[in-house]
């Protein structure tokens, strides 16, 4: 099977879905042009090159470069979705959710409910997300934990190229608004990705490691780091279940709870700050529904309650590392 980067896997998913369905189009800032481009339209394909080639193949009507207005982009996508299109909007950085919050939270997420199920809003919004690029406090946040809290939105966080392609195709075909968070530190990471089109259902976790001692739940960029931590512990005879939920809304709570029931120990890892976040959410669920299986206190490994620092050293200290995850796993076994 060919190796592809997450960037190429997402690009391929967009190409395949646009070719398969005329109602699919992309809209966003520089989706045709882009950072470092020579000014020719269609020359780059977004700041991260994820939409490259779409303009040449599908033309300006299906690869729409917009002015710098996130609320206009999401508003246009929401409206198009209401009348039967399947837009894939790109908001360069998930941090910019701030300027299109109303369109996402108050409009898209609510249509289906407030119109009594008589309408649907099959829009996808893609975001580059997360830290690790020294992109500073306004271009490094995850934001997905906030969006997971909003009923009516589906939230996807792929952790590898294979999942990214299958999940994005599912997102485009889904009849509800889907927020698709692409950890930008993983764009260049590659794994085996089939050429053909395939889907990965929402609400079905992956389990890239299986073990008996501790359950580790990790999201997005943290899945790879948790994997490294778990592999390093294997030499000490410690084996872990690693659960990558892949979608936080819907959440595959059954897989997490059944694993915790089997291991009795839980470590939850995310790169977002701790308050009201995904790690707290999962920890609360386990405490509530699997309390009697627990043999040790639940550990949360996440960023400190602080904006993401610009300095590379500080940023590295800010993010959960494989070492920190390893230490947390060991602590549950003490």
């Amino acid at each position: 099977m060919p190796q592809k980067t997450m960037r190429d896997a997402i690009n391929e998913a967009l190409h395949q879905e646009m070719a398969a369905d005329d109602s699919v189009f992309v809209i966003g800032e520089d989706v045709a042009g882009g950072n470092g481009s020579d000014g020719t339209i269609g020359c780059a394909g977004g700041v991260f090159g994820v939409t490259s080639g779409l303009y040449e193949k599908f033309g300006p009507l299906r690869c729409i470069d917009t002015p710098i207005s996130e609320s206009a982009i999401v508003g246009a996508a929401a409206g198009a979705a209401l009348v039967g299109m399947r837009p894939v909007a790109e908001i360069m950085f998930s941090d910019f959710i701030g300027v299109c919050m109303d369109q996402i939270v108050n409009q898209m997420a609510k249509f289906r409910y407030m119109f009594g199920g008589k309408t649907r809003c099959p829009a996808v919004i893609r975001f580059a997300t997360g830290a690790g690029f020294s992109a500073a406090a306004q271009h490094s946040q995850t934001m997905y934990q906030m969006m997971t809290a909003v009923p009516g939105l589906k939230v996807v966080i792929p952790s590898n190229a294979y999942d990214a392609k299958g999940l994005l195709i599912s997102a485009i075909r889904d009849d509800d608004p889907v927020l698709f968070f692409e950890p930008k530190a993983l764009y260049q990471e590659s794994c085996e990705v089939p050429d053909e089109s395939y889907t990965i259902p929402f609400g079905e976790a992956a389990m890239p490691r299986e073990g008996d001692d501790v359950t580790v739940v990790a999201f997005g960029q943290m899945v790879g780091r948790a994997m490294a931590a778990i592999d390093a512990l294997e030499a000490q005879g410690i084996s872990c279940d690693l659960i990558d939920p892949r979608t936080t809304s819907p959440l595959d709570s059954a897989t997490i709870l059944e694993s915790v029931e089997a291991t009795g120990r839980l470590v939850v890892v995310d790169e977002s700050p701790p308050r009201c976040g995904l790690t707290a959410d999962i920890a609360a669920m386990a405490a509530d529904r699997a309390f009697h299986s627990l043999k040790a206190p639940i550990k949360q490994v996440c960023a400190p309650h602080s904006p993401v620092p610009f300095s590379t050293d500080l940023e590295a200290a800010y993010l959960p590392s494989a070492e920190k995850i390893q230490a947390a796993i060991q602590e549950t076994l003490r």
Partner: protein
């Protein structure tokens, strides 16, 4: 009670031992009328719909799509609206007890609450798995109950499921990285693999090879086709002659089933048709009564049905003899594996021009190689040879 109708795996054909539930076309609570298609069951090589025997409501679905069940096992219940749940539970319980090979329900000592049984079975399995493993097992068609988990307390892992699928324990990703794609067998492929392995291992094959000069036959074919109408292939002519030869040597026109020879009164010739999913032996019935043109037309129709996946059980069953032809691929000669329960298979190569010696002189002739594989348990060498002689005679006579 009398208004309760069981849905059970039917026995479509003599060899069918189990079926896969392909899809439910009705759901619990749906009204059904007699003759409605309720679910699709995949057996050996075909998919058939199970039709409702009476009017009623689909009250229970006891299996999920993708499940495999033995012939006779209960899949669901159709009953009238006024039949109460207790009666249906009792019916299901009794149904289990009737079947010696379905111990699950009957063997359980706590049979007092019938409804709890399926739930109990599920939770027993889930203790040793997790949803990720169960989804993988469903996708790969692995029965978790048959696995021994390698995790703590016998917990079944994804690797256990994958290992059950491919015994080459190497993990899929690792092997694929070296440029090899792994594709699990489809249900059809699995059936083919099982049958062929069984046939090759258990049937004592022997092979008889002959070389026929068929110039006269080739001319005869040209003449027939010049006359217009249905185009006739060399294979059609040979199948026509096989029909006559089977009538002349009926000891080869047989099935071998459970230490018994089943002699056929008509020549049902199985012809292999190639599709993407594999070779399908379709059956041309009573070939001895068909003209070469009839055979050509019937073969073409069956081949089309095979390619579009619309074969009925009757299209592929009841064969008494197989003809396999690889001449169109330029194969000179080959030996074929018998397609049980049939007793013999004739393998035909390509008709080619060759130098042959006739009356002390080297001349050019169109030559065809044929190899007959026979089941020695039922067909002795002399009988096989006698059939080939009869076939040669038929070929000479038609020409």
């Amino acid at each position: 009670m009398s208004d309760i109708y069981p849905i059970a795996i039917p026995k479509w054909g003599i060899e069918m031992v189990e079926g896969t539930i392909n899809s439910w076309m009705k759901q619990t609570g749906d009204n059904v009328s007699k003759g409605d298609e309720i679910l699709e069951i995949e057996s050996d090589k075909i998919i058939n719909a199970w039709e409702a025997p009476a009017d009623g409501i689909l009250r229970r679905q006891l299996v999920e799509e993708g499940d495999v069940r033995s012939v006779g096992q209960l899949l669901g219940i159709i009953a009238a609206a006024d039949v109460d749940e207790e009666s249906i539970d009792a019916f299901i319980q009794n149904f289990g007890e009737d079947k010696a090979d379905a111990p699950a329900a009957a063997a359980a000592p706590a049979a007092s609450t019938a409804v709890a049984e399926p739930a109990a079975a599920i939770s027993e399995t889930s203790k040793r798995t997790n949803p990720v493993v169960r989804r993988l097992a469903e996708e790969l068609g692995v029965d978790l109950d048959t696995l021994t988990g390698t995790g703590r307390n016998g917990r079944i892992t994804q690797d256990d499921v994958k290992a059950a699928v491919s015994q080459s324990a190497g993990d899929t990703a690792a092997v694929a990285a070296s440029g090899v794609d792994i594709e699990p067998f489809s249900a059809t492929r699995k059936t083919i693999a099982q049958r062929l392995s069984k046939a090759k291992q258990e049937i004592p094959h022997y092979y008889l090879s002959v070389e026929w000069e068929i110039d006269a036959l080739v001319r005869q074919r040209a003449k027939l086709n010049e006359a217009g109408g249905q185009k006739v292939s060399l294979n059609d002519l040979i199948v026509h002659c096989v029909g006559k030869a089977l009538m002349a040597e009926p000891r080869v026109n047989i099935n071998v089933i459970d230490n018994a020879v089943h002699r056929f009164h008509q020549a049902n010739v199985a012809v292999a048709v190639a599709t993407d999913e594999g070779l399908f032996p379709v059956t041309l019935r009573a070939v001895e009564t068909l003209s070469p043109a009839d055979i050509a037309a019937a073969t073409a129709e069956l081949a089309e049905r095979a390619r579009s996946g619309k074969l009925e059980k009757s299209d592929i069953s009841d064969g008494s003899f197989t003809v396999s032809n690889l001449g169109m691929y330029g194969i000179d000669q080959f030996t074929a594996i018998i397609n049980p329960p049939m007793g013999a298979i004739l393998a035909l190569g390509a008709a080619t021009e060759k130098a042959v010696v006739r009356n002390g002189e080297v001349v050019v002739a169109t030559v065809l190689n044929a190899t007959l594989s026979c089941d020695h348990r039922a067909i002795d060498g002399a009988v096989g040879a006698s059939f080939l002689a009869a076939l040669k005679k038929a070929l000479d006579e038609i020409a």
